[in-house]
């Protein structure tokens, strides 16, 4: 069948009633417009999230935090509250006892502390490339006559040359355990040092770091078994115990001695602030955003462990790197099963993407309703058109049109309504994305901490085809019944029709 002749007849029919057909088109137009925008937004956001995170080591990293007293039961029934009282009060006190017990446990050593021993053990798990402690500590700092009571420092992985690109004055660390430090430009700014000359003056100077004194109570220094024992003592017994404890600890070799660790390092460089475009590993660098002083990781670790509290409590966090991104969720789960708190970007990304997909699909579904409503308009227009053109259909048939050809004319007519609506919808959606992007980026940057410069709307080729195709398809489906009606018209009656 030669379609072109039929398409031409359909077009001629459409142009006869421009106003009406334009109105019918607007239904499809709105549907495709909204659908294109929403799917583009879903694509754009998903793309923005993914590209912010991939291309670096993000997907291979799992953040690890020591677990909290998991051997402790939450079951109130386990604790007996004796004495004469009504059941409601007994229940309240039982709850209170449970809550207090839990909090006391948390204040001590974590049940799953991360120290060099556990790191060595966990490193033997499958798919793990490395585990290194994350060291973020505040120290008293003295540099160039300036004094800062609590400067946040961060241990940098020198082996991977992390932050080397951000050194704007001086040089990078000479090695993983070098007694060197790099200062952040913001710290210098706070001290009124702004010029390149100021920066050069700082380099080569000595920075003094000193542990901030936080006293451990003798009770906190006691071994866990002894802590457990003390918990259930009466008030008087405990007081007596507390006076005894320091002697006991000394006798049995527990370090009650609190030595303030103090070290000196040479400032070798100045680091600039993290900017969009710099590699950013959510887990690894998330710890460093507020740091003003940077040490090689080994150096930082040595200083960290020089403090007895830290030896006792272990590292607060560790960074696990898996051999391949695909294993990240699995390793994350294994660590959780072992009682640790673990977090991977890979699984968070999966969650974000599935949420985005869900939102996109459900909103698309809503706009789909607009498209369905537009089909009602098309059905109406097409039935009107068929009735108006009854005599013409009779003529078509008299000169040899088959039923299929008559049907084709009307399907083409409707398809063109759909196609025009779809193309207009696509074009306007594409136009709307320009101010939409500007607005969205501005809004996001007002709220979000990490600078954002990605397009929020992404219009992939498949969507450019799918939008108008969907409009056309919808219109064709809407026209099936009217077109069949046209095809079935009795030519003898139609030719008498006026």
């Amino acid at each position: 069948m030669n379609l072109r002749g039929m398409i031409w007849l359909a077009l001629e029919g459409l142009l006869r009633k421009k106003g009406r057909n334009f109105l019918t088109t607007s239904g499809v137009f709105i549907g495709v417009f909204a659908l294109t925008l929403i799917v583009s937004l879903g694509q754009g956001l998903s793309h923005a999230v993914t590209s912010t995170v991939s291309g670096t080591d993000n997907l291979r990293q799992v953040g690890l935090t020591g677990g909290f007293g998991i051997e402790l039961s939450n079951d109130p029934a386990e604790i007996e509250i004796p004495g004469e009282m009504d059941e409601a009060r007994r229940e309240r006190l039982r709850r209170a006892a449970v809550n207090r017990r839990q909090i006391r446990q948390v204040a001590g050593r974590r049940a799953n502390a991360i120290d060099d021993k556990t790191i060595a053990e966990l490193s033997k798990l499958p798919h793990i490339e490395s585990i290194q402690p994350v060291i973020v500590e505040r120290y008293e700092m003295k540099l160039n006559g300036h004094d800062s009571p609590a400067t946040l420092s961060y241990g940098v992985d020198v082996g991977r040359k992390r932050y080397a690109d951000r050194v704007i004055a001086g040089s990078y660390f000479s090695g993983p355990g070098a007694p060197e430090a790099i200062v952040h430009e913001y710290l210098l700014y706070k001290w009124g040092m702004l010029t390149d000359g100021d920066y050069t003056k700082v380099i080569g100077q000595t920075v003094k770091l000193k542990t901030i004194q936080t006293e451990l109570t003798p009770e906190q220094q006691a071994p866990p078994m002894l802590q457990e024992f003390m918990r259930d003592l009466s008030e008087e017994e405990r007081k007596a115990m507390q006076t005894l404890l320091p002697k006991l600890l000394k006798q049995f070799g527990q370090s009650s001695q609190r030595r303030a660790a103090e070290r000196e390092f040479t400032v070798v460089g100045v680091l600039r602030e993290q900017m969009p475009g710099d590699p950013f590993n959510v887990i690894e660098d998330g710890n460093a955003v507020q740091a003003d002083l940077f040490l090689p990781l080994e150096t930082a670790r040595e200083l960290f462990l020089a403090s007895a509290v830290n030896v006792e409590l272990g590292y607060p966090r560790a960074l696990v790197t898996v051999t391949d991104a695909e294993f990240a969720p699995e390793v994350e789960q294994t660590l959780r099963d072992k009682g640790y708190t673990a977090f991977s970007v890979a699984s968070a990304l999966k969650q974000i993407e599935s949420v985005l997909l869900m939102i996109t699909v459900s909103i698309s579904f809503l706009t789909g309703i607009a498209l369905i409503v537009s089909t009602l308009g098309i059905v109406n227009t097409m039935i009107t058109s068929v009735i108006e053109r009854t005599r013409e259909i009779g003529i078509f048939k008299a000169v040899g049109a088959t039923n299929a050809q008559v049907m084709t004319v009307f399907l083409c007519e409707s398809a063109m309504i759909g196609l025009v609506g779809g193309l207009l919808g696509l074009a306007l959606a594409a136009l709307a994305m320009i101010p939409g992007d500007l607005l969205a980026v501005q809004l996001i940057n007002e709220k979000a901490a990490i600078p954002f410069d990605q397009p929020v709307f992404v219009l992939p080729l498949w969507l450019m085809i799918a939008g108008p195709a969907l409009g056309t398809g919808t219109a064709i489906v809407a026209a099936i019944l009217p077109a069949r009606r046209a095809a079935r018209i009795d030519p003898v009656k139609a030719l008498r029709h006026d």
Binding site: G400, T402, Q405
Partner: protein, 226 residues
């Protein structure tokens, strides 16, 4: 040679049990010119529509070139009309929004002939009916006679073997009628078999080679069957 053999044709309408045709048998030879006469309501148009495959008989057979129209599918009937039949109506039945040449070219659209070729053929047909210069005019810009000439050009566009005319001059004055009849005569001379419904016995006498008179859905006078 006979082109059409119609036997015992009945056409009944369910409403009120009216029989528009009640047992009509007729043969039409190739190149013959048959005039159909009869009172209003006698079944002339009904018979014409059956012969042209626009309608189906309730009973009976219409054999054209060895094939029975009564048993054909809708699609086969369409192809029969497309290849073998040309219709000319009293009310012209042109598409008002299409220019003359496109009305003439309409049968060629459904044959799948490309536009350029259609246009050339249509303008040639219009030239033959004396409207060579009017191809781009719409029916509303033409007189009745001119419109009927466009309709004739359209009916001849697919070079039909059977030309069916239902009162082709019914809406026209005598002068214009003569022009139209001359064109129909031309088509007949070119070899088409013709069946023409008319109320004018004089017209039938002058142009037709045979006259069939109908009354109440039957053929009123004995007709010799070839």
């Amino acid at each position: 040679m006979t082109l059409v053999v119609a036997r015992d044709l009945w056409r009944e309408y369910s409403q009120g049990g009216v029989a528009a045709l009640a047992g009509v048998s007729v043969d039409i030879a190739q190149g013959e010119f048959v005039a159909l006469l009869g009172r209003s309501g006698s079944g002339k148009s009904t018979l014409l529509n059956l012969l042209g495959g626009l309608d189906r008989p309730t009973r009976g057979s219409i054999t054209v070139q060895g094939r029975d129209l009564a048993t054909m599918s809708a699609r086969e009937l369409s192809l029969y009309r497309r290849s073998t039949v040309g219709f000319i109506f009293q009310s012209f039945n042109l598409v008002p929004t299409l220019p003359a040449w496109e009305n003439v070219a309409l049968p060629l659209v459904f044959q799948g002939i490309p536009r350029e070729q259609r246009k050339r053929a249509a303008l040639e047909m219009l030239d033959r009916v004396g409207l060579g210069a009017r191809g781009h005019h719409r029916p509303s810009q033409m007189s009745g006679g001119e419109q009927q000439r466009v309709a004739i050009a359209r009916a001849l566009a697919n070079r039909p073997q059977l030309l069916l005319c239902d009162e082709p001059t019914g809406n026209l004055d005598s002068n214009t009628s003569a022009q139209i009849m001359a064109l129909i005569d031309d088509a007949h001379k070119a070899g088409a078999a013709l069946v023409m419904v008319t109320h004018d016995p004089e017209l039938a006498r002058i142009h037709a080679s045979r006259t069939i008179r109908m009354a109440d859905g039957r053929i009123a006078e004995p007709v010799e069957v070839a």
